[in-house]
Symmetry: C2
Subunit: 332 residues, 2 copies
């Protein structure tokens, strides 16, 4: 079991050919005379030869492996269905390409640049990165100069990414609230130092402005349940007249719901609520949330295809923007 693995040289010697010929047989590209090919194949079988992909990778500068990088803790990755669906989609996108796609999740004692190191290590041809948190890791990964595609706008000019049409999505939610008769609408935003947080807020304001309205108030909920709860509480205190609430994520909406209930307000009777993500959280709530979709499988597949183009040498700078839709449920 632990004798050193046979190399191509061993195969060649046993088959009585040169290493180059053996290599040709293995990589099936160029034609080889029938009898020699047979000899080589026999030698391979006899020795139980397995090509050293690593050596090949070094020679060809191609690893044949890409990673889906999730700079998140493992429990977040496994508890949030967004990631598993993303992976599923990414898998689909690589079907038939003989490229392995592995999952790289943050490890507890990772150095901040661990992902970038891994990407630059040569073990990977490229990566798809779903960096929900901050742009630092995204920046590092991009700066390796290796093929990378981001899920969601990383806020780096020139970096290829796929994203949903945030503006259109927000518009969907906002106009739905308007259509339901609401005029005094407040919003709970994501962190405003995150691209997606800013964009959703801006889109919301723009949409209202187009209807001759201004937001009653905007409050940062930090994309967490607790943040959403706190934000709703403050909104309630500062703008008790609001008729509807646009919340930039389902999780924050769940928190907001708690605050509203505590204040004795019923959703949707007293106040309308629309949110973003359309995740399982949206349907696990009572009332179920009207929410704009963030279609993970499609994002993953699109990112895969984009990465393949980048790997093929194409220079991709135009993002791929997916349209989205709203799921109308009880909350509005």
């Amino acid at each position: 079991m632990s004798s050193p693995a046979p190399t191509l040289d061993d195969v060649a010697r046993l088959a009585g050919v040169s290493r180059a010929t053996a290599s040709r047989v293995v990589s099936k590209g160029t034609p080889v005379r029938e009898d020699k090919r047979l000899a080589v194949e026999r030698a391979i079988a006899q020795l139980g030869y397995v090509p050293n992909h690593l050596a090949r990778a070094l020679a060809t500068q191609k690893a044949g492996v890409v990673a889906l990088m999730l700079p998140e803790s493992d429990d977040r990755v496994f508890s949030d269905p967004f990631f598993s669906q993303l992976y599923h989609g990414a898998l689909q996108g690589f079907r038939g390409s003989s490229t392995r796609i592995v999952l790289s999740i943050s490890q507890p004692d990772d150095a901040p640049d661990a992902m970038a190191k891994y990407l630059g290590s040569g073990h990977l041809d490229g990566a798809i990165v779903a960096s929900h948190h901050g742009w630092e890791i995204a920046r590092q990964l991009y700066d390796t100069g290796r093929p990378v595609v981001f899920i969601g706008d990383p806020g780096i000019t020139g970096a290829p990414y796929v994203d949903i049409d945030q503006e259109a999505g927000v518009r969907l939610a906002t106009e739905h609230l308007l259509a339901r008769g609401a005029r005094r609408i407040a919003t709970i935003t994501g962190p405003l130092d995150m691209v997606v947080g800013r964009r959703r807020l801006q889109a919301f304001q723009t949409c209202l402005a187009e209807h001759g309205l201004t937001p009653v108030l905007a409050m940062d909920g930090g994309f967490t349940r607790e943040g959403g709860e706190l934000a709703a509480q403050q909104l309630l205190a500062q703008a008790p007249e609001m008729e509807a609430l646009f919340v930039a994520s389902d999780l924050m909406a769940r928190g907001a719901l708690r605050a509203l209930n505590r204040a004795g307000l019923r959703v949707p009777e007293d106040i309308l609520l629309a949110s973003f993500d359309d995740s399982v959280v949206a349907v696990e709530n009572d009332p179920m949330l009207t929410s704009v979709g963030n279609p993970a499988p499609e994002l993953g597949a699109a990112a895969s295809r984009m990465l393949q183009r980048v790997l093929a040498g194409e220079i991709v700078t135009a993002p791929k923007v997916l349209s989205t839709r709203i799921s109308i449920r009880d909350s509005a």
Copy 2:
């Protein structure tokens, strides 16, 4: 961005030293004169040099990466908490070792030997394999001769693995049923071509024999919910006198429960039920299942530690057997 990545040669040239010296600075092992070291470090910074881990791996025959291999479909992996906990435990086991651990899940169009190929590719120093299904993949992986540790007895003599004490676990469940007064006990087994299926059945029979009893009947439930339901139905038909049922997995127990209910039998009033796994399924049921634990985090951590020993060159053949315990709930 796309200029070729700087190599150690570039660094050496810029620093005015030999490549060997530059290498020494990078890998921090051997002492280097202060001024040269500084020169090299400056050159590294200036060039933005990142070591090519792949080339190093080829030279040292160490990749610094191991995989947790899950020869399962991605949706199974993500839907079964056993795997995420396994990964979590594996991560713990590698803490502080600077080894990256990636997740390798079956891809839809994988060749049967895809995992073995990946393991033999040189990109990995070794792997932890949780092969619930069959022994073929396990065999292939073991036959690569590369460091592998299995989760659960793969049924390959000499192959290192970690497992729970199946016999003791089964005994826990069986004796609990006996203690509750049951004498006529039947069992629903896993597939008997799987090591774990056979072992649980055998242990069950042994335990009963020690109490001077024989099983009323044993039926294969294939480790699926549907299989469990069918098996219970047949048991009911062939042995209506049974007072208790030992089911070899929670999932099958859930199926069995349905069949029992349909037959108008109440658990635990009319019939006692104990199962194996103590997964979320056990508590999601009504009644909640009395079940023997299959502690994924501990298994993962133990496997990691064992793999590290194997990687260190130690020859490990003795399995690590973890003790287990029973969670007593409503079903018995």
